[in-house]
Symmetry: C2
């Protein structure tokens, strides 16, 4: 999407230099730094240090890493070596393994002399596929926003609340939850986005930066504020992303999503989840009992990173020395709180039947 009027993806191939370039996201939202990823160690650092983050973006980055490996040494051994080297950079990222498996499967039958080019072409394809999926999520979500705008009796904007960063920075472009917003804004629909800061990691600051950079009106709020705003008619819809959706429509997403879904239900605010179909886990039925919730480092709770008066990025401790902290990173929103699932294929009910109808090939 746009930054100061210029279009960016979160990664892109520099054809002149023959190298991948990324936005080093560690400095956002305060500073946008572009980095060339020119060595295998650069790739490992980019993924491990979360210079790139978000499942689709990690997958695409890894595919470019495999392309570099094939340019350096296209042997069968090196496919395996690069697979292992890249996979261990974030071993719990399912999309990373998925992309690497896909690369390996694609490259193995190809002659060594053609593997470098084939790997690069595949990386481009994986990146473009992500963009296309997200673009279609946006087109499908746009229609919901268009209907809400048409039903407005005042010149008030359509107020959309979102949680976390399911934005273009977490994908190659468009984002998932943000794609309908960017599409609506670009189509001239008057929208305004309430951006949850999303403690503990404050990914809302990235969402705010995306919206600010693209020119979409928005307001940055605490995670605590959404219920109050809904009680007072200040939210027309919620759109969030998801890390994993069950075959029955339960939605696992960033911690705190469930609380927003409860408030939406209590105030008759439609609650939508935007998702690329690969994040549907067809093996899971009950999200609350079956999905294990990652407990992350408690430093994320006790300390907060930001920009000091002097412009440096630093971390400060908020809670007292000696107080234990807990950091469950995700929660599960049960399907009965979800108005609809916005996929690249259309908007599905959050139910086993709805998803089965939309994706019959997985049944």
């Amino acid at each position: 999407m746009k930054v100061d009027g210029k279009h960016f993806r979160s990664l892109w191939w520099n054809h002149d230099a023959g190298v991948l370039e990324i936005i080093d996201q560690r400095w956002l939202p305060h500073d946008m730094r572009i980095q060339q990823v020119g060595t295998m160690q650069d790739f490992a650092n980019a993924i491990r240090e979360m210079r790139v983050r978000g499942a689709p973006l990690i997958g695409a980055t890894a595919a470019y890493g495999m392309a570099l490996a094939m340019a350096e040494n296209p042997s069968n051994d090196n496919i395996e070596k690069a697979w292992a080297f890249l996979e261990e950079t974030r071993p719990t990222a399912i999309n990373l393994r998925w992309a690497l498996d896909r690369c390996r499967l694609h490259l193995q039958p190809i002659n060594e002399s053609e593997r470098a080019q084939a790997a690069l072409t595949l990386a481009h394809e994986i990146a473009d596929e992500d963009v296309e999926i997200n673009r279609n999520i946006g087109i499908n979500g746009l229609e919901i926003i268009r209907d809400l705008a048409a039903n407005k009796t005042t010149d008030e904007p359509v107020n959309i609340l979102t949680h976390c960063n399911a934005g273009w920075l977490a994908t190659v472009d468009w984002g998932t939850a943000t794609s309908p917003m960017f599409h609506a804004h670009d189509a001239g629909i008057n929208i305004h986005v309430w951006v949850d800061e999303t403690r503990p990691r404050n990914q809302g600051a990235l969402t705010a930066w995306e919206l600010l950079s693209h020119g979409v009106p928005h307001t940055y709020i605490t995670d605590n504020a959404g219920g109050h705003l809904m009680q007072h008619g200040m939210v027309d819809m919620v759109i969030v992303g998801t890390d994993r959706t069950t075959r029955t429509g339960d939605v696992c997403n960033k911690i705190g999503t469930y609380l927003k879904a409860l408030a939406a239900k209590d105030n008759n605010v439609p609650f939508y989840v935007a998702l690329p179909s690969p994040t549907i886990d067809w093996t899971v039925s009950d999200g609350i009992t079956e999905i294990p919730i990652e407990q992350r480092n408690v430093d994320e709770i006790t300390h907060i990173q930001g920009k000091t008066n002097s412009g440096t990025i630093e971390s400060v401790q908020v809670s007292p020395d000696g107080s234990p902290a807990g950091n469950p990173a995700f929660d599960v929103t049960p399907k009965h709180l979800v108005t609809g699932l916005i996929t690249e294929r259309g908007v599905s009910a959050a139910s086993a039947e709805g998803l089965a109808d939309m994706f019959p090939e997985f049944q």
Copy 2:
């Protein structure tokens, strides 16, 4: 309550020096600094700069300020002058005005020669009354915790979730929401407290400090985590404080309280509000439509204060330059989500009937 085994109130009279002493709360939870409040300017600074905070504590502090004024000059003129001087330190604090009005009314009929002593005696009384109210809230809440403990079939603690700081630091002693917890812990009941950090001002860090200092097991969590914990049976009850409760039982409290009440309802977790009866507003029926919600400075959202690696207290900016922010400071939890109101007189249903039965003199 206790700090390192020694009992403290949040303010106390130093009989030897003839001066009020307070805990300067600006440095908590990182540093406990004690300060003598020896001049009228000291009193103004203590209240205006939030060295003392919380309605009951501000009221008691102001009463000691009036006592100092009477020691300096017990004239009728000086009662008025001190009233105005102290009142303007935080003009929206209703308890401040209440305490000053009470002092004025009490002192006016008294001979000037006896006013200094009478004012000091009254300040002691106001402080002691607050302690007694909170002690009784604790005794009444203790019985609820005792029942939950008795019904435990394992040796797990009674898990209590709280939001914000309705603790002894916001009162003279015991706190309101924390009083049942301190009473239960002191009675040997095995409890554990989930402490919401309570963005944007992170008053949960003060609650964590209180519990840590008194020796009560607790865990500091994000405001987003509570719903997930309740889904998984990890919360036995919620106790929060309140800034204002309507005569019908709607509860106005720190922003985000409503979201916890929704999650409690959805998971059959009892949700209690601890309140001294003076915070019941007998003039208001519908909390959501009738109570104006203060919009506070957005710097509280965009910036966070904490302790740096070098031990200094600094503020860092989290959101991007240029993103607007919104900061509603309170929300209203409708009565149907409230299991009971723990008052100094007993536990009332959150209803007009329940409150009328408990406080017939206000009907």
